[in-house]
Amino acid sequence: MKWIIISKVFLISFILGVLLNACVRNYDSPPIYMGTGLQANTSIKSLYDSHIAGNNEQFVDNEIITGIVTANDANDNFYKTIVLQDSTAAISIRMDGFGLSANYPLGMRLIVKLNGMWMGEYGGMLQLGGGVDRSDPLFIELVPVPTALFSKHLVVVGMNSMPLPLEVTYNQLHDSLHSRLVKLNNIEFAANDTAKFYGDAINKITNSHSLKFCGGGTVYLRTSGFASFAPIRTPHGSGSITGIYSEFGSQKQLMVRDTSDVDFNQNRCVSSGPSVLFFEDFEQYSPNQSLTIPQWSNYAESGKQFYQIQLIQQNRFASITALGSNETSVVSWLILPPIQLNNTTGEQLSFLTRDAFDNGAVLQLLISSNYDGKGQPWKAKWAVLNANIAKGAIGGIGLGFTKSGNINLSNYAGQIHLAFKYSGNDSGPFGSRKNTNYQVDDVKITAQ
């Protein structure tokens, strides 16, 4: 009898538990935003017209503008800023906080209630902001709109299609295009600005690269070191570029939102001596770690040894050795990013090598046209390229880097892969071990 009661009590408690479990509340999702009934009562261009140069002006009437977001902080090139464009003009709005792109994605139509906001210049560019910082009387600047006031000033209308960028020539670049989304055609990076990082991601510094119109004229592409595409290198060819136009003093500047804004897949239009198609000096990467560089691959076919970044006498380079692995076979691949040879002619490769404690391991330079870039390079077809590679430093580190000589790549076409392949071992009797340390630096491809 007692057991029956006990089991009943327990059964009840378990049922209660199950019920409780079922009581966990499911949240439904909110209704869809239905837009706003507000209407604009002025245009962006009229803001420019009403602005008195050098002044900071507060809006005290109920001015309302509307426009489409053409740039935001999605890739962190634009910092605490969105750009709003209507059919008449465009203007930057300085806004506090990160992740603005979540609230204000590209293509969104916004209504801005300007009452209480400020308008002022930064380097000659008109901007909207939330206030004015007069703490330094020599440098009065606009303060971003506080996040807490976003909902006071900005009202979402809905998603629109992006406005087509205005296609302009060099001579049409004019201050009326400030903050406008423009497209520049027949343009390329200056020869000494190709294969450079868009931005300085290591020091978080903005880079400025000159863009040359094929018909003459220079515009500067400015990219923040915080941009997600900062560590990507500038392309070599020519074509068109889309971005937000600005002027700083007399300098004409452009900022892109992403590398997809840069469409340089035609041949260079100005041939003024060799330009750099590709360059890597390894100086941007942390030493004493396995080499991990975007688009590069670092594979161990056998022996589990990877190329490392090393730092000796303020110089960083890629380094590989079988020493210390105790492996019977060490084969390691360092593969460069894919190189497109179709848009250029007269491509030449050069690099530097240095050896240390040479006892017969081999470093080779290989080329492949059929490697798919997806790993396991040993399954693809590779050809050895003749290069002058350091050797003979038996008792220590080689005195200097050995130049590879100019290796002609112009016989190849299409997309190719280049690789350094190391073969050695670190087992058996001491005399038979081949564990030379090879160091590679300044890998460079130029084109006419």
């Binding site: 209660l16 209704p31 979540a102």
Partner: protein
């Protein structure tokens, strides 16, 4: 979480100790004797004023003076436990690991953090009050004990009083109703004893708008006595889901006009939704065996098996604005420009909903800001799953009437797995297992991968992400003690040896730490010992003097050893055992109308370690402060007195006056979660800083009135002062002082932050009536107990902390102001108990 511990601490504090050890005493007691299982008041009451068992033995004029009874709470703890807990008073200023609790002799203090997981058996007040208590270095029957205090819980059905009880609790705490049913059957002829209890607790809303509480606890205990064996099986658990409370700044109090403001909730489709929940469920199975293998030798063995999960929920976000409405950049104080500050102030005044989470907007962003609905916001569970096995065996050998020897061995294995899990994608389609913080520092590299073994993993609801690692913790313990009883003196000595092993196992290969995140790390071994000795001089049955001393060495807690175990197996460089010396001396008076205890103590703790992790705005990442070589010293006096006037009036008082301070300069180092190197290190200038988080001076005074058995009233007041907020180490570094603008007062930045003194008044009352009496003598009773905490309805600061962020460049303390927890005013709980 803190709230929860606080709450269970309260229950624990008022829950009384043990049934009388001699059944014969039962007859001499009033009808409340058998209510020893009551949680709320009766035992609290009895505990305070009628420690009759001690009394009746004490007044015997025997030449052999009896030793002080082991069992109940000492006078100081029973007076202060309830009232001082509002300010989180900890005896002797010791850290959590110096307070121990065991169930069936298996230690509950977690090897991971040293804490006692109260909520694992919370809600079972009717059956978990069979406790033995040992304060300070007092000897106990079971284990070495702890410097602070130790509680030994017994859950055997045969040691509970036979009863059938329905309880209804009504309260305005975080739960509002509690219903409990308890039945304990009397021992059957065949030696079986069975006890069961089930309790349900719930509450929605109340003083804190977003409050919600749901709890179900269950208990089953079966004993079988066979000759000189007692075999027990206990199954218990508490499944609980409740909202957490956040600390808030004074600015938010001013902005909202209430100290009850909470930032962690908002409306979703016009329904209140809270982002911060916690869940806990750790069922426990205990099997134990007591065996009197000889009239002088008793063997007790226990096996514990427990597994469960706890998690807390929080919002997570990627490439989006911080969704927490009390983020400092959203508040007026962030703006130096007074005009802008005023604008923001007005905007918030006109739109108070801006200070709550805008769930609808989070959904909108998740569904509209990307083409494929990748989550920018999600609700995550921070999960801790644990599996525990404990094995304990003890031999108690009464060599002769004066000499008692005992040996104890214990093995514990605790495996904790920690990971994040997606609770709700908030309308988004998926998320990716990326570490957004690494995105900034090492663009385009594999550092962004939380798990290189599964790069770019698409994750959905229920999937693990972020971090995922397991801690394998083991401890072997051996303990022996000797009690030697002389006519005028009692001597006790105990020694304990522990061997501890810690090992981390990474389930993810983290992109920032590919070399030392995945797989088993190098294990750490620690050998430690504790030794204590005590002597009690028994002047007569009323006056006792004692002197006790101990040395203790403990391994660092595993959570203080690894700098950031979430993502790597890197450990602190300066690893040391934590050592403590303690000496206490005291006097106890046990007279019929006057009881008095006085205890003076000195504790020195050396080489402690600590790791604090928090989100740092400047680094835009989680940052870890690793502290080592922390030395503290606690000095103080505990005094308590209860004087019974005639006519059932009792006056009582208790005082804790302590000076608890850091006495050296600890080392610190700072490491961000996305960097492989230590970004800062040095020493902390905190010599002579007070130990924070508890009142160092606390005074209790109470007046109780009791009629002959069926009514009592107790009015008490408590003063608590000398309390400081837990401090931000970075403000006490050389670097911080160096960068400080010269016009700022140096001391303002470095001095510890004191919180105002508090004076609270508590009231409790109990009443009992018999509603039916049967011929065989047993009867139905109704018992009422009302406990009112903070009668003056004050909104006092109960605790808080200095934010760990600091405006190093500007030295502006108001940029990241202190955060406080406020009490919610008067709290009551009414308990109605129907005893069959």
């Amino acid at each position: 979480m803190r709230r929860l511990f606080f709450f269970f601490g309260l229950i624990q504090a008022v829950a009384f100790a043990q049934p009388p050890s001699k059944p014969i005493l039962l007859k001499s007691k009033n009808q409340w004797v058998d209510s020893s299982l009551d949680k709320d008041g009766w035992k609290y009451f009895q505990d305070q004023y009628t420690d009759e068992s001690a009394l009746s033995e004490g007044i015997d004029e025997m030449p052999f003076v009896p030793s002080l009874l082991q069992s109940g709470k000492d006078l100081f703890s029973s007076l202060t436990g309830f009232s001082f807990s509002i300010r989180r008073f900890r005896m002797k200023g010791l850290s959590n690991r110096y307070f121990s609790q065991s169930i069936h002799e298996i230690s509950m203090n977690q090897l991971s953090d040293g804490n006692i997981p109260w909520s694992n058996w919370g809600g079972l007040n009717e059956v978990t009050s069979n406790n033995q208590y040992a304060a300070g270095l007092k000897d106990n029957e079971y284990q070495f004990g702890a410097l602070g205090n130790s509680v030994f819980m017994q859950l055997n059905a045969s040691k509970l009083f036979p009863q059938t009880t329905f309880t209804l609790n009504l309260s305005n705490r975080n739960y509002h109703q509690r219903f409990a049913f308890t039945k304990v059957w009397s021992v059957s002829k065949k030696g079986w004893s069975v006890a069961t209890s089930v309790a349900f607790k719930q509450g929605i809303g109340g003083q804190l708008i977003p409050n919600e509480f749901k709890g179900l606890s269950y208990f089953l205990s079966i004993d079988k006595r066979v000759k000189n064996h007692l075999i027990s099986l206990v199954l218990l658990g508490n499944r609980q889901m409740n909202t957490r409370t956040a600390a808030i700044t004074q600015e938010l109090v001013d902005l909202t006009g209430t100290k009850l403001y909470q930032p962690s909730w908002g409306f979703q489709s016009n329904k209140i939704r809270n982002a911060n929940w916690q869940f806990n469920h750790h069922p426990m199975l205990l099997i134990s065996h007591e065996y009197n293998l000889h009239e002088k030798i008793k063997q007790v063995s226990s096996l514990l098996i427990s597994m469960g999960e706890k998690y807390s929920t929080a919002l997570d976000w990627f490439n989006a604005a911080d969704p927490r409405p009390d983020y400092y950049r959203y508040l007026p104080s962030f703006f130096k420009d007074s005009l802008l500050s005023q604008d923001v102030f007005k905007q918030i005044q006109m739109n108070p909903s801006q200070l709550q989470i805008n769930w609808d907007h989070l959904y909108w962003i998740n569904q509209n800001s990307t083409t494929d609905n990748r989550a920018r916001y999600l609700l995550e569970d921070r999960v801790e799953q644990s599996k525990k096995v404990g094995l304990n065996s003890r031999y108690r050998i009464q060599l002769n009437s004066r000499l008692l020897v005992s040996f104890q061995g214990q093995y514990r294995l605790e495996v904790y797995q920690y990971f994040k899990r997606i609770n709700d994608l908030l309308g988004a389609a998926y998320s990716i297992n990326w570490n957004q913080f690494a995105e900034d520092n090492l663009p385009g590299s594999t550092a962004i991968q939380n798990d290189l073994n599964k790069p770019n993993q698409i994750i959905k609801v229920g999937d693990h992400f972020g971090y995922n690692y397991t801690m394998h913790l083991q401890q072997w313990l051996f303990h022996s003690q000797v009690l030697y009883t002389l006519p005028k003196f009692d001597f006790n000595a105990a020694v304990e040896y522990t061997a501890t092993q810690y090992q981390r196992e990474g389930m993810y290969r983290n992109g920032v730490f590919p070399q030392n995140s995945y797989g088993h790390s190098e294990p750490d071994y620690f050998s430690n010992g504790q030794i204590k000795m005590g002597v009690t001089y028994k002047l007569n049955g009323r006056n006792y003097f004692y002197f006790r001393s101990a040395f203790s060495s403990k391994p660092p807690l595993v959570n203080d050893l690894y700098i950031s175990p979430r993502i790597s197996s890197l450990k602190q460089t300066d690893i040391s055992n934590e050592q403590a010396y303690m000496t206490e001396a005291g006097y106890i008076l046990q007279a019929p109308s006057l009881k008095l205890t006085a205890n003076a103590y000195w504790v020195s703790v050396q080489h402690a370690m600590d790791v604090m992790s928090f989100y740092h705005d400047g680094y835009r990442n989680l940052v870890n402060y690793a502290l080592s070589n922390i030395d503290t010293r606690m000095l103080g006096l505990e005094f308590s007195m209860a004087y019974t006037l005639s006519a059932g009036l009792t006056l009582s008082t208790a005082i804790n006056a302590g000076k608890y301070a850091y006495i050296q300069r600890p080392n610190y180092s700072v490491m961000a979660d996305n960097e492989q190197y230590i970004s800062e290190k040095g020493i902390l200038y905190i010599d002579q800083f007070p130990i924070t988080g508890l009142p160092q001076l606390a005074v209790y005074s109470g007046l109780a009135y009791r009629t002959n058995g069926n009514l009592f009233l107790n009015l008490s007041s408590s003063y608590m002062g000398n309390q400081w907020l837990s401090f931000n180490p970075i403000r006490r570094t050389y670097d911080a002082a160096l960068n400080l603008p010269s016009n700022l007062d140096h001391n303002l930045m470095s001095n510890p932050s004191e919180i105002p003194n508090a004076f609270i008044v508590d009231f409790s009352a109990g009443y009992s009536c018999r509603i039916k009496k049967f011929r065989d003598g047993h009867a139905y009773y109704l018992q009422f107990f009302l406990g009112v905490n903070n009668l003056l309805n004050q909104s006092i600061i109960t605790g808080g902390y200095e934010q760990l962020r600091f405006d190093t460049a500007g030295g502006n303390l108001n940029k990241f102001p202190n955060k406080y927890y406020f009490s919610t005013g008067t709290l009551y709980s009414l308990s109605i108990k129907w005893k069959l």
